[in-house]
Symmetry: C2
């Protein structure tokens, strides 16, 4: 038995060797000119990925801290937000609001479905007093593998002044989110997703409207203060010691994304998604999310009748060296999650599907041998034949 | 000119190659059994370094977040703390308290001096109503290079029930701090100091008395919630995605510290300190801290009359490839800081002193050529001749 695993998770993603090597660079003084150069390169690269001209701040912490920073820097205690939830990470936004004295009105959609922009438009239209200060929503809901239509949600806002705060931790660089063009006020990202880095950094792009809200916000924060981060960032520093090794890695992963182009990354993720969906269906498995809202980063697959998620996940890892994730929230007992995010290759997907078939066969499930890989391979070959720009557009 | 620098900072420390390589290990599922094994090994190793049987929590963030976590998990809004300050990081504790609605009564000592345990005893004795809920103090004050006498401060508490919360971010593993033996309730550490890792992790050891205070604390927190961290930790997980690569590095650096022994690490740091102090004095330079309170991690050195810190720091880096730190707080314009913390060798110190001599000569300062390295080398040779256990005891 080998310890060489194939990671098919919705993050952490495998790390490209170039990025891993970059992180092993010698330490530098985070108050010196070497750091300023690194900082400026990373900042410029991030603006391309966020598709924004706004300032991006980087915090040394993981994604949840980015969500907390968005809330505590922009919404004051006693104020109301509209929390649009379609899964466990939407619910986390609600928990964060409540931990900091913010009234979260929840607009919940069932696990596996996307948010209905019409319902959001209706709720905002009814809020003639503009009590709702912000809309909190996921771009890609990691727990269900559903992609929300952020462009439509932004349009649903109409002339309502609420800030649109989007958690795109598992979405950014895997699915299109042109922040400025779609009038999104804050986008939150994380290092261990399509950026192909280990966990430990969260990045927030914050537009001018949101910075103005930050000026007035009375909520409590210190380490996660984005105004302090912006102020230091303009000098090429951070207010508190940053995770320098991860920033070296980030510079390298930004180079990789630049070489691939954003459109190329979107297309690659879409193709991996379609391979997984075709393969799972060929095994007779049901998918939690519909094709129209399916995430390019992760697919929640329902386990066959009579099996529990652990009956798939554990033998996949223990016997076949393929690591997939469990379910979360209300679908915890029904699905496992097959990730296709970040530094994952088409070959990883094919091997993962082959292992999945083997696990089902071992469990006595009737499947057509070879069908999953054949179906996914057909999708792959068709996708590779198409100009990558065409897929992405 | 080479880009090979000698880092003589009070953190981030250079990273041992073994640790850097460990951080490049392939990613794993932070919800899987591989992570649980890593977590348990790291946790057991940390307890040895903290010299405690209490639970240690690890947060993905840098040291300031550890200070914030200690405050927001243990002190409620409106409650009072005694903030004992001897420099910039003591002042940071005060800022954190005020950001979270806590009344910080400041007991300040001048930059360059240690806290007077007698003054602390006096203040606590006067607090017969036990209004002071916690004492916040630095072990090693990074801004001045002064080591507080934590054992004496703990004794000064007498029977007063205030929690003793010690920021040992730049002290732990460089100077002795037997937490349980000295009845310290909370100790805060950071990865980029004597642990020889890049920045990005902060660790808190929390004793039973402090956990009881955490149960009652009404302050606001989410990402930095140590109760959630403890609960997940008991299952070999973290509540939010951890910086896995840094944890791999931490496991390796704990192995290095175990091999050296804690006493060996203390002795090494003391010897490096004494080398730096002897060398600086041989150059005619004054030291901010007295010998009796001098930090084993960093030495604040006063610049010669008529020079500014930048006149030393910049040519050291630009011409000689030696990176030292600037001053902070009230001594910002008077000192530079020569670090001797973490993965620094005696040879680094000697080279650093030689470069310092060269910079002074370049600036027209009259110094005895060779005296600094000779003085430091004498200290080194004497120290190496003594049994390392003897120095440490």
């Amino acid at each position: 038995m080998t310890d060489k695993q194939i990671l098919l998770l919705p993050g952490p993603t495998p790390v490209p060797p170039r990025v891993a090597l970059a992180m092993a660079r010698p330490a530098i003084n985070h108050r010196g000119p070497e750091f300023k150069t690194l900082w400026e390169e990373v900042n410029a690269g991030l603006k391309e990925i966020f598709q924004t001209r706004s300032e991006v701040v980087i915090l040394t912490a993981s994604g949840t801290a980015g969500m907390e920073a968005a809330v505590t820097n922009l919404v004051s205690p006693g104020e109301k937000v509209l929390a649009v939830t379609i899964g466990a990470f939407g619910e986390r936004f609600v928990q964060i609001c409540r931990a900091f004295g913010i009234e979260a009105e929840v607009l919940a959609f069932p696990y596996g479905q996307a948010a209905d922009p019409g319902a959001i438009a209706e709720r905002l239209a009814a809020d003639t007093a503009h009590e709702i200060k912000a809309i909190l929503v996921q771009h890609n809901e990691t727990s269900t593998g559903v992609l929300n239509d952020i462009q439509a949600i932004s349009k649903a806002r109409g002339s309502h002044p609420a800030l649109l705060i989007v958690d795109s931790i598992s979405g950014l660089a895997a699915a299109d989110l042109p922040m400025d063009a779609w009038r999104v006020d804050v986008v939150i990202a994380g290092s261990q997703k399509a950026f192909m880095l280990p966990p430990g950094l969260t990045m927030l792009a914050v537009n001018e409207r949101a910075w103005q809200a930050a000026e007035k916000c009375t909520n409590q924060r210190f380490y996660l203060d984005i105004k302090k981060a912006r102020k230091s960032g303009l000098k090429g520093q951070t207010p508190f010691t940053p995770a320098v090794s991860l920033l070296y890695g980030l510079r390298e992963s930004l180079h990789l994304l630049q070489a691939e182009t954003l459109a190329g990354s979107f297309a690659r993720h879409v193709l991996m998604r379609d391979m997984v969906r075709a393969g799972a269906r060929a095994l007779g498995l049901k998918l939690l999310a519909g094709d129209d809202v399916a995430s390019p980063a992760v697919t929640a697959i329902c386990v066959p009748e009579g099996m529990k998620p652990a009956d798939v996940i554990n033998p996949l890892r223990e016997k076949y060296g393929v690591v997939v994730a469990g379910g979360q929230g209300t679908v915890k007992d029904r699905v496992f999650r097959f990730g296709h995010l970040g530094y994952v290759s088409f070959n990883d997907i094919l091997a993962g599907l082959a292992a999945l078939e083997a696990v089902l066969l071992d469990a006595g499930v009737s499947v057509t041998r070879g069908a999953a890989v054949a179906a996914a391979s057909a999708v792959m070959r068709e996708g590779m034949a198409v100009d990558i720009e065409t897929i992405a557009s």
